[in-house]
């Protein structure tokens, strides 16, 4: 069983705000799922390379040809908060902090 603190730590890493009830449920469900997943420990992989992608592609390159990008107005159209032609975000750096 993973601890409640672990659940809270992982949620913080994932920037996921969970309610108390969600943390409780997550603790039970993640523990249950991890029990199944941990069976992989018994598989001998001592001489096996990891596979990140099944296709043998590397360094896909193309010519650096300028193209018209999505227009600024279209790119901003879905922003929840805007100020003129900019995204509006909460203050990140404050004076004195």
């Amino acid at each position: 069983m993973i601890s409640r603190e672990t659940v809270e730590h992982v949620a913080a890493l994932a920037r996921l705000g969970l309610t108390e009830a969600e943390i409780d449920l997550m603790q039970t469900q993640l523990s249950h799922i991890l029990e199944t997943i941990e069976r992989l420990r018994d598989v001998d992989t001592s001489s096996v390379d990891p596979t990140a992608s099944v296709i043998a592609l590397e360094n896909v390159l193309r010519d650096d040809v300028p193209r018209a990008p999505i227009s600024r107005r279209a790119a901003l159209a879905n922003a929840p908060l805007r100020e003129g032609d900019h995204l509006r975000v909460p203050t990140i750096l404050e004076e004195g902090r």
Binding site: I2, T6, V7, V10, A11, L13, A14, R15, L16, G17, L18, T19, E22, M26, Q29, L30, H32, I33, L34, T36, I37, E38, R39, L40, R41, V43, T45, V48, D49, P50, T51, A52, S53, V54, I55, L57, V60, R62, I70, S71, R73, A74, A75, L76, A77, N78, A79, P80, L81, L87, V89, P90, T91, I92
Partner: protein, 497 residues
């Protein structure tokens, strides 16, 4: 059989002989959507006027002798493919449809660009009817994880259609579209195809562009078609497949004429039956239908070979590390700042926590947590790297067996459609629905599900798995089976409602 329930191949001939018009086909689908769409909850967005206008343009092109195989055929896109809904000035395009990925966090999102799938199907002359419901971010096996409600199975409306592409499978099964797209990360095309009694194919990883597909697990996701026949599947795959420089994992290999591969014969082919796919807990009716399907192919002249894929049992654990790990990284983009739902909090960290906490549903949160855990300091090697190593074992086993046989035969899903709500309290029980499909994604191979009869009145699917980029062989075997088995005209009760 009514027009709306026919195959693309049939109505395509009728279009070219001027027996029916694209407008009539579109009206037939719209009438079914009008009659059953709200109840089945198949569509999340549609625009009948835009579809009818496109159909009239297709009718004009048909009159000019245009012979594109999908010209004038009405279809639907899973609502995980972005559809262009904004012009360059950022204003709404007439007929442009929103894209939600089944999530509240993308409610009302209007894409400034089109997915490769939309572009290719549009170029092929298809008539876009709308966007189909799906599990949130394609995470699910029942379509119950959609923020916009569950989809009902046309075969039995108390049951699920499968997932995550359940809106697409149900729409094709219910005569609401002649074909639809889906995405398959661990079975999300093949499993709903099986439960909904239609054909569904996951092509080889890299065969179809992922450009404009909302990302779930980028090393596993692949786009593919739902249709009412294997021949139709070959036609739609031909339109979707091909290299796209906008997706760096799209592979630049020639696209064969898939319809030409449908010889109708399996004589002389060696078809493997992996014994590990007949798992404990499989419904007897499913096993019986699949064993009978294998006999049909044997009687048609194929040599049936017993084979073993011993790492199959590790597929589920491998998948539930790799897929959530990739998902946790992909979904980091939802920050409540650039697009999507925002809690509007004045503090940046609180805004992240609340936007994501309120915007994502339970299953998506579970997978973000699982993936973040597996990638976090101290667990990365034990979980993520270990899973990537077992991925190698699984892939090597497939490659070795597929040197000796031309394709593999297996069940698609261990069960038929189950009642809505039956598995929602137990995530692990839900995950087991994909035990027979997810190893194929782990190995990146092509697989198809083709209807192979009924168990207690509900559809069962036969899965055919092939070598990488050998969709032609998979389609050939599935088509030969479909012709020999006599289930090609199987339609849901809604076809004669």
């Amino acid at each position: 059989m009514e027009l709306a329930d026919r195959t693309i191949s049939e109505v395509g001939s009728l279009l070219r002989s001027r027996t029916v018009t694209s407008r009539e086909l579109t009206e037939a689908c719209l009438a079914r959507i009008e009659r059953d769409g709200t109840r089945l909850n198949t569509f999340l967005a549609s625009d009948a006027a835009a579809a009818l206008a496109a159909a009239e343009a297709a009718d004009a092109a048909l009159a000019d002798g245009d012979e594109r195989p999908l010209l004038g055929i009405p279809y639907a896109l899973k609502d995980i493919f972005v559809t262009r809904a904004l012009d360059d000035a950022g204003d709404d395009l007439p007929g442009g449809l929103p894209t939600t990925a089944g999530s509240r966090i993308l409610a009302g999102y209007r894409s400034p660009y089109a997915s490769d799938a939309q572009e290719r199907l549009d170029a092929a002359g298809g008539i876009l009817l709308g966007k189909t419901n799906c599990d949130e971010f394609a995470m699910g096996s029942s379509n119950e994880n959609s923020a916009y409600g569950a989809v009902r199975n046309p075969w039995d409306e108390a049951t699920v259609p499968g997932g995550s592409s359940g809106g697409s499978s149900a729409a094709v099964a219910a005569g609401q579209a002649f074909f639809a797209t889906g995405t398959d990360t661990g079975g999300s095309i093949r499993q709903p195809a099986s439960l909904s009694g239609v054909v569904g194919m996951k092509p080889t990883y890299g065969r179809v562009s992922r450009y404009g597909m909302v990302a779930f697990a980028s090393s596993l996701d692949q786009c593919g078609p739902f249709t009412r026949s294997v021949r139709d599947c070959a036609l739609v795959l031909g339109a979707l497949a091909g290299h796209d420089p906008r997706d760096a994992t799209s592979v630049d290999v020639p696209v064969p004429d898939y319809a030409a591969a449908l010889t109708g014969s399996v004589r002389g082919l060696r078809l493997g039956v992996p014994r590990e796919y007949f798992v404990a807990g499989m419904e007897p009716g499913v096993e019986a239908a699949v064993r009978t399907a294998i006999d049909v192919l044997r009687d048609a002249g194929a040599e049936i070979v017993d084979v073993s894929l011993p790492s199959t049992d590790h597929g589920l654990a491998t998948y539930y590390i790799i897929a959530p790990a990739e998902a946790s990284a992909n979904l980091a983009r939802f920050d409540g700042v650039r697009y999507g739902y925002s809690a509007g909090d004045d503090d940046l960290l609180t805004n992240y926590l609340r936007s994501r906490g309120d915007g994502f549903g339970a299953e998506v949160k579970r997978r973000i947590m699982l993936g973040t855990y597996a990638l976090s300091a101290g667990y990365y090697d034990a979980y993520y790297v270990k899973a990537q190593q077992v991925r190698t074992l699984i892939k090597d086993e497939f490659d070795r067996v597929l040197k000796d046989v031309d394709a593999l035969l297996a069940p698609t899903s261990p069960s038929v459609a189950f009642p809505i709500g039956a598995k929602t309290d137990d995530p692990l029980l839900m995950y087991l629905n994909d035990a027979c499909t997810l190893p194929v994604n782990i190995a990146g191979l092509p697989g198809i599900s083709v209807p192979c009869g009924l168990s207690h009145g509900k559809p069962v699917g036969l899965q055919v798995i092939g070598r990488a980029f050998d969709e032609s062989m998979v389609l050939r075997v599935a088509d030969a089976y479909e012709r020999a088995a006599g289930f090609a005209d199987l339609r849901s009760p809604l076809s004669h409602a």
